[in-house]
Symmetry: C2
Subunit: 271 residues, 2 copies
């Protein structure tokens, strides 16, 4: 972990960190994360009261948000909300937590957030919400669905990264998306800054009939196929590196603007 000089360290201990996730307030990944962040700052927890995986960047506008104080697994007190991860960040940054928040950390997610999956991710969307509000933020995930994981390496990396973030300005509306391979620390090769890769799904739909004779469907499919281009998050993870991708909210396909113009779209008459 990076060394911090004594003055910087004193400053860091006054740092206020908000953590949330999409696996729910009682998830193991959040507790491991909190244990490490407790060493470098004051940690506030506002997280969903139940798992919210694959919720995307949902926000709750049409019903009231609740946030109940709950005892966390480490004995401290946090907030469990009926909202989405993004709502939890709004609650934390817009006044429910009275202290000003310096850094938002979302995770540690149980499972990867790589490639095209980012747009589905509740974990990443929470960090997006913080970035929109101008607060430094990152999402962090361990890239395995195994029932039991060692969150230690990811949690210690998160603490080092939070310290680093506190000392640097983030570019506007930008956040970091971190993925940590599920390997013992001695087998993790290091850290690499990456770009987002591609994942291909061969999505499948399974039709079944319920006891009342009505059809229903399950969405599923095989494991995604990653396009393992060097320099991408999916490649880094496949090679045993921690991947850090700077992510922003500009979805413009700049390289396609001229092509789409060339179709003659701008000549369509609106009538």
């Amino acid at each position: 972990m990076q060394k911090v000089d004594p003055i910087a360290r004193a400053k860091l201990l006054t740092m206020n960190i908000l953590i949330t996730n999409d696996d729910g307030v009682h998830a193991e990944g959040l507790i491991f994360l909190k244990a490490e962040l407790d060493k470098i700052g004051r940690v506030f927890v506002v997280a969903p009261d139940r798992p919210r995986s694959a919720c995307g960047h949902s926000i709750t506008l049409h019903k009231p948000l609740r946030a109940e104080k709950v005892a966390l697994r480490d004995g401290s007190v946090g907030y469990a909300s009926n909202g989405t991860p993004s709502d939890c960040v709004s609650l934390g940054l817009l006044g429910m937590i009275e202290e000003p928040i310096d850094v938002v950390v979302s995770g540690i997610n149980h499972g990867p957030n790589l490639g095209w999956d980012l747009t589905y991710s509740g974990t990443v969307s929470a960090a997006m919400e913080a970035a929109i509000m101008g607060v430094r933020a990152f999402a962090i995930s361990v890239t395995s669905y195994a029932p039991r994981l060692d969150y230690g390496p990811a949690a210690r990396f998160a603490a080092a990264l939070a310290q680093m973030l506190a000392e640097h300005d983030m570019p506007e509306s930008t956040l970091l998306n971190v993925n940590v391979p599920d390997l013992p620390p001695s087998q993790i090769k290091g850290v690499v800054v990456t770009r987002q890769g591609k994942r291909r799904y061969s999505g499948q739909l399974e039709k079944r009939t319920d006891p009342m004779g009505r059809d229903y469907y399950w969405l599923g499919g095989d494991q995604p196929t990653d396009s393992l281009e060097e320099g991408t998050d999916v490649y880094a993870i496949s090679e045993g590196w921690v991947s850090v991708t700077p992510v922003h909210l500009d979805l413009t396909a700049y390289s396609s603007i001229d092509e789409v113009r060339s179709w003659g779209i701008q000549g369509i008459r609106v009538e």
Copy 2:
């Protein structure tokens, strides 16, 4: 509307179009859209059974999806699903509709999908899902929350654009995000291909107490402030143009990669 030669027209009438939205299967915008698309192809409707605004790119993995046949407002039959807009696209493309779909159109949304709002948008996420599956798609919105809108100009533009899409290859995992100003056709200046702009929110949280003495919160805030840079979607709409933005799923902040590397992230020891 663009002219189509007779051979192309015959081909277009064999085009299969899937429409969905996030305002629900009975929303007026969807019916106006269908009426125009019916003129150029065979239209299938799979849409949420209730409004799903601000649902982001949610997908339903943990419960079964239902899709009931319902009578639409125009007397035809469509599917109403308990899933999100993205789920509706999966249902339509993965086999519930037996015909192969050529183009997916999501909308017409009641209200804008501009700037940073894209990541929250159920309308846009439906088109994203189609793009991930390799199907040409666009999202279309009228940029007003007025209770009654004239969806005619947007619906006619959608038909022209669907014809154009059918004749061009879309770049990989790219979709179009269309916004139409709420103006009479004579006051719409034309069509412009744009980049995504920025919207700033001064988010607000209002705390209230329920009759049982428990706190709850409403998320809200003032109208967003658009950063009116020329060339952006928000600028185009403010000037009375139809805005078409090519959007992709690569969220990498390429311009920040070097900066983030310069912090020394790659030197953090993972332990």
